[in-house]
């Protein structure tokens, strides 16, 4: 059963189309990764799912209910972990979790128990009486998670939850994602860290210019470019590069020049590296570095969008 179904979703800001006729389905129990550069439409989509933004067109169904019609029911089953830490510095860790869980209708003993459980889940039991202003960045991130899960939502949306934290806290959060998933939660996970998405997501959608340009498991996505590889050549100056001449080399399917780096897409199995290097030497283009990449999620993203995820 699908926990989330999006049909023809569109969002415009004046003349700018942030989300363009997007359709998507996420099944219960999935860890679904959203990949996209800044401004691709990722956050806008999440904001429409959670009710932070109104859609211009289309439908969003969560647990079989239209979000705009049954917003209270839908909201009760969503937990949002925003990209920026959204906690009150002058309330203790316990008070923070209790306050937000209370907004979901929990009261009395149940509210207390769920608050304690959530704090325990993120490893902050010892710190429940402390104020977040005394916390490290990683602890604040964990409290940020606790505030979103105490009401035991079925769908958890994590927007860049590991930004700006130490490796230990990142590991802790990634383990938490797995644990929450094992406990029956469906997770939508966005991240700039490709390796995180590769590690934890069962299915991934790549968003560009408000549209989903590719969707599937990481194996399915990689298979989209299994017949090609990418060669990156950094030169001292790109002024004398003649793209048309590089295109004529056997097996080359695409050439892009980005500042002093030349990206060359070439067919897998064609041995043309010598010819490519020869072109640069003959034209006195001083090579500073050369990198050959086999298909992975990053090269898939690069191939499909023409941009590096972290640089965008």
């Amino acid at each position: 059963m699908n926990i989330l179904e999006i049909q023809d979703l569109t969002k415009k800001f004046d003349d700018f189309i942030a989300v363009d006729d997007m359709s998507l389905a996420i099944a219960e129990g999935e860890i679904f990764g959203f990949l996209g550069s800044n401004g691709a439409g990722k956050s806008t989509t999440i904001n429409m799912i959670t009710g932070l933004l109104r859609k211009n067109k289309g439908s969003i169904m969560i647990l079989g209910k239209e979000t705009s019609k049954d917003s209270e029911f839908v909201k009760r089953h969503i937990g949002l972990i925003p990209q920026e830490i959204a906690i009150y510095e002058d309330l203790t860790a316990y008070e923070n979790v209790k306050f937000f869980a209370g907004l979901y209708g929990l009261r009395g003993g149940e509210l207390h128990d769920r608050t304690v459980e959530a704090l325990e889940f993120v490893g902050l039991t010892e710190k429940q009486k402390s104020y977040p202003k005394t916390f490290s960045g990683g602890m604040k991130r964990r409290l940020n998670i606790a505030c979103a899960i105490a009401h035991q939502p079925k769908l958890i949306i994590m927007d860049e939850p590991t930004v700006g934290i130490d490796p230990q806290s990142r590991k802790y959060i990634l383990q938490s994602v797995h644990k929450l998933n094992e406990m029956g939660c469906t997770i939508i996970y966005t991240s700039h860290y490709m390796e995180e998405v590769e590690e934890i997501c069962s299915r991934i959608a790549i968003i560009d210019h408000g549209k989903i340009i590719a969707e599937g498991t990481k194996e399915q996505l990689k298979s989209l470019i299994t017949d090609s590889k990418l060669i990156f050549i950094e030169v001292k100056s790109q002024e004398a590069i003649d793209v048309d001449t590089i295109y004529k080399i056997q097996g080359v399917t695409d050439v892009k020049v980005d500042e002093n780096t030349v990206q060359i897409h070439t067919e897998l199995g064609v041995n043309n590296l010598n010819q490519i290097i020869d072109y640069f030497i003959r034209n006195q283009l001083e090579i500073r570095s050369l990198d050959e990449k086999e298909p992975n999620l990053e090269t898939v993203f690069l191939t499909l969008t023409g941009r590096n995820l972290r640089d965008s």
Binding site: T50, L52, L53, I87, L103
Partner: protein, 372 residues
């Protein structure tokens, strides 16, 4: 229920914010102490009034006797009535300051001319005459029913204290500490607009606005809860300031503290609503607080918070009347020092009316917009 939860959270925030507490509690108390002590001389409670000369012209024979008795009676209080001489213009004499007042008695009644109605002398004359007119009207009514008892009212056996009965200037006058206790309290109540202007903006800057919006609660609950919390905390601060000024500075808050608190409560409701309204009208993050600060400072200055503004004229009168503190202070002072509650209702109506207006603007903007 969610509304109360949000209000309670708001109260916790404010109570744990040392800067807010210092500002709301220490600021007015220190100002009371400094200004109340420094300006003691400007609030001399002993007012000496010289004898007053009043001209009169009586063309109403039926009032001759009682009016004569009245003039003799007030003579003892230092008010000397002299008949207008032929060819003399009573009004001109008053205008030129040669006499303190001129009374013309004709068939239509009494006409009093004084240079400044609100001066102490003018008020005493008005009060004395009003007292006489009341008593005369009383005699007329008694004459219709029991003529034999009418004389008793004006007989020498009955002591008349015309001035005490109807003096317009209250007998009690505030000392400097009394004055600053009231004006600093009404001023700090208006400062609730500052926290009002930050109510919603703080949720945005803490990034918690998104959490509130994704929760299954109505936007209305968020709004009312926050406003309610802010009103409660500000009112608590004001009550502490009043209690402190009463117990430590022995400031006079009169015998109707409940009514005083009612005026202050409505003022806080207005102030918070004003702050919230401005934050919705001006969207840039820092601008609403700046605008509120300027408005509150000007309202305090022209509303008599730093020094009393007595009988303003011209442009000062216009500006002064624009300050909500002018009416607030007038309502509280009249209640405390003259047992006069006639300005309480206008002050409450003004506060609630303006609060309603600003809340209307805010709710319309809040409901229409996306997120918070």
């Amino acid at each position: 229920m969610n509304m109360l939860q949000i209000a309670w959270k708001e109260i916790k925030h404010e109570f744990r914010d040392i800067r807010t507490l210092v500002f709301m509690l220490a600021f007015p108390i220190v100002l009371m102490l400094v200004l109340g002590t420094a300006l003691t001389g400007a609030f001399n409670e002993d007012i000496s009034i010289d004898d007053m000369d009043v001209l009169y012209e009586n063309t109403n024979d039926s009032l001759s006797e009682p009016f004569k008795a009245f003039t003799e009676e007030v003579e003892q209080s230092g008010i000397h009535f002299k008949p207008l001489s032929d060819g003399m213009n009573g009004k001109e004499q008053v205008e030129q300051g040669k006499v303190d007042g001129y009374v013309s008695v004709d068939q239509s009644g009494f006409h009093l001319f004084v240079n400044d109605q609100s001066s102490i002398e003018g008020s005493i004359l008005q009060g004395a005459l009003a007292s006489f007119v009341d008593r005369y009207n009383l005699v007329s009514e008694i004459t219709k029913v029991a003529p034999e008892k009418a004389e008793i009212v004006f007989s020498n056996a009955v002591k008349h204290d015309y001035i005490d009965d109807h003096a317009l200037v209250p007998k009690k006058q505030p000392g400097s500490m009394d004055y600053y206790a009231i004006v600093m309290t009404t001023m700090i109540a208006l400062y609730a607009a500052m926290s009002g202007s930050q109510l919603i903006a703080h949720e945005r800057s803490r990034k918690t606005a998104s959490r509130l919006i994704v929760a299954p609660i109505h936007k209305r609950d968020i709004f009312i809860g926050k406003v309610m919390g802010s009103i409660v905390i500000n009112m608590a601060c004001i009550m502490l300031v009043v209690a402190f000024s009463k117990l430590v500075f022995h400031a006079n808050w009169g015998e109707h503290l409940g009514l005083v608190f009612l005026v202050l409560l409505t003022e806080i409701i207005f102030a918070v609503s004003f702050g919230v309204g401005v934050s919705f009208l001006i969207k840039t993050p820092a601008a609403p607080t700046m605008v509120v600060l300027i408005v509150v400072q000007l309202a305090s200055l022209f509303g008599g918070a730093y020094f009393p503004i007595e009988n303003p004229e011209g442009i000062l009168k216009v500006i002064s009347s624009l300050s909500p503190l002018t009416l607030e202070n007038k309502a509280v002072f009249n209640l405390v020092y003259a047992n006069d509650s006639s300005f309480i209702m206008p002050a409450i109506v003004m506060n609630i009316g303006l609060a309603f207006l600003f809340l209307l603007i805010s709710t319309a903007s809040f409901r229409r917009g996306e997120g918070i």
